[in-house]
Symmetry: D2
Subunit: 222 residues, 4 copies
Amino acid sequence: MKAPVILINLKAYRESIGHDAQRIAVAAEEVGKDAGVTMCIAPMFMDIHPMRHHYDLEVFSQHVDPVDPGAYTGRISARALKIAGATGSLVNHSEYRQTIADIEHCVNALKTEKLTSVVCSNNVATSAALAVLGPDYIAIEPPELIGGSVSVSQANPAIITDSVEAVRKVRDDVRLLTGAGINSGQCVRTALDLGTDGVLLASNVVKAKDPEAALRNLVSLL
Amino acid sequence: MKAPVILINLKAYRESIGHDAQRIAVAAEEVGKDAGVTMCIAPMFMDIHPMRHHYDLEVFSQHVDPVDPGAYTGRISARALKIAGATGSLVNHSEYRQTIADIEHCVNALKTEKLTSVVCSNNVATSAALAVLGPDYIAIEPPELIGGSVSVSQANPAIITDSVEAVRKVRDDVRLLTGAGINSGQCVRTALDLGTDGVLLASNVVKAKDPEAALRNLVSLL
Amino acid sequence: MKAPVILINLKAYRESIGHDAQRIAVAAEEVGKDAGVTMCIAPMFMDIHPMRHHYDLEVFSQHVDPVDPGAYTGRISARALKIAGATGSLVNHSEYRQTIADIEHCVNALKTEKLTSVVCSNNVATSAALAVLGPDYIAIEPPELIGGSVSVSQANPAIITDSVEAVRKVRDDVRLLTGAGINSGQCVRTALDLGTDGVLLASNVVKAKDPEAALRNLVSLL
Amino acid sequence: MKAPVILINLKAYRESIGHDAQRIAVAAEEVGKDAGVTMCIAPMFMDIHPMRHHYDLEVFSQHVDPVDPGAYTGRISARALKIAGATGSLVNHSEYRQTIADIEHCVNALKTEKLTSVVCSNNVATSAALAVLGPDYIAIEPPELIGGSVSVSQANPAIITDSVEAVRKVRDDVRLLTGAGINSGQCVRTALDLGTDGVLLASNVVKAKDPEAALRNLVSLL
């Protein structure tokens, strides 16, 4: 995916279910085109197929299970995501932590299916450790800032620059996204200036009264 | 749902993804109509909406998370299942065990959404305990028989009759399904004769070379 | 165990490690004798053996794993607890929730070893469901009150009386303990008056400047 | 710890409880002294204190929880392990997998307490990823060989040499142990020759009729 990247995690919010989710997708598609940004959306599993079908967006799963197709009830393999139309998946989101053995399985399974992997990390050390596994992206989200109104680039830009440096030291083909608290064009601008490819965010778009306006604000300094 | 009930859990099998899942749904719809059976299918999350849209079947989720809509990445609320078109959900499948606090939350959330709850249990004692929570159905699946070719009604009919009796003692409005190893018309017949409303099964239909023939065999003694 | 029962959960508090834990045990033993109360203490695993050896107290494990002796790293079987000198174990504490299949395994394993089982529940419905499994005690702890300064008997006595009634309906040999926020002699008095055998508490003794005074206060209205 | 290192994981085996565990400790202490080997034992939590008190052995916990002292029922902090007398802890054993955020927390907490961390990995990629977190040791245990009679050095020596190389590339201060299926002096010899500092093993000592003879065999080619 070409930078800059904006990845909207719809989570399980009330505003992310069914038609409401479509409202966000419509806005994302339009703003993405206007701004020349790679716009990605991560809906609930049930919306992966319709979102891919109806919009010109990268469609991410919010989660993938560390299983090959088989006797697993309620679990979703990378293969199943591919067939449903996903173009990638989040892995190890702070709201769905996974073991390192499972993360490695997922990164490889996504690679096999030519799906983009975005592995979430919580600090500099885990960012570097996860980069060793060779995902496409590491998304750094300091847990204390998730869902808040202060972005990581305001609160602690060093965690971003240190992560970029630490990741570069172990792998130079792994890109980074900045997460947690992203809420303005300045946040996105800073995320890029600090050496990451874009942002991962959720509530500040999903719960916005006007998602399109929120998105236009995010791309305003690109 | 009117007895007899046949609930096909598609799990995460290779044969349950995308078009292959449709093949099973087509067969289920047809056999269900011919035999006057309440046919239910539990596909992966991504197939809940299309299956409900295209087939005259009860469509179950394989799992529901114990969350109300909110900031939960990769989790599925009962509300989201309802909007996607599900008519019910499995809860606490042996391949996705849940805590008792979470099961209680899920049973109530499904009730609020008027979705049918099928809570899986592993023996007589847990069947009775779970019945206290007031789900629509308890599905008894002795773990040692799951995925095998010997059905519970052949191997250990006492576990069914004892469960029926134990459940009746705590609640008389909770119905039961017989699970694990169901593979023939005789299994289904016995499940009904022992006092349960039907069967929960997976591999013996999903992995059958001819799912329709497998389903016709299952309803052959009704 | 003879009522009234006071069960002190030491958790993993700084004040519960090593010599500090002994300080609480000394106080518990003395106050228990003076007041004619069955005093129980639930230390960390490492202190089970020395506490049983040095004090005249019922010694509970804070947790037991649903395993028979075998190849399980970091897990503790009921058998191992017995050999270490425990007289019982908490099961399914709200800070260590377990699946219903695992709770049933633990209750049975504790029974086999003649250890007292105290299964924690979070509301009326789960109290009754867990009672079906036949533990020695159900300890009701509404999660929203745990660790606070308002006790369940003040905030919501109905949850206790309703639980007692609901449990009685399914089993008349399962006793109850009142938990969450217990902080005074009045709380303990009310717990007994509402039909439970005693209380389960933690911070209000463990983090007290003077644990003995805190304990003397708890038994002051017996 | 000085190489060669032999770390015996007692797991939750019947042969590892109470007096039986002491029998293995006695043998380990004696063989360790005779052979000039750093002998380590990882008993159940309850035996950490007595083992450290009675034997001249490095005493490891089988697990540590990612918590600082606080309101955590049934959990064990690094601080509590230190006070109990442990000299180190296993982290992320294949029978007790942990998330990467939790592993990082544990490695740091053990470091703060000056306890030796041995983080288990399952393949080359996870070995390198975990090394980034800076534990004292990485113990490589291919899951498919654990508990078997074929050692990793016989079945797949490349996984060891590749892990040594991959770990060296990210950190040169992290040492390695070879695990899974270790059963003879040749296995230990090979583990050292391939560049690791020693071995992590369990059943082949714990379940041996004569643990001392098993241990003497292990050190026979040093």
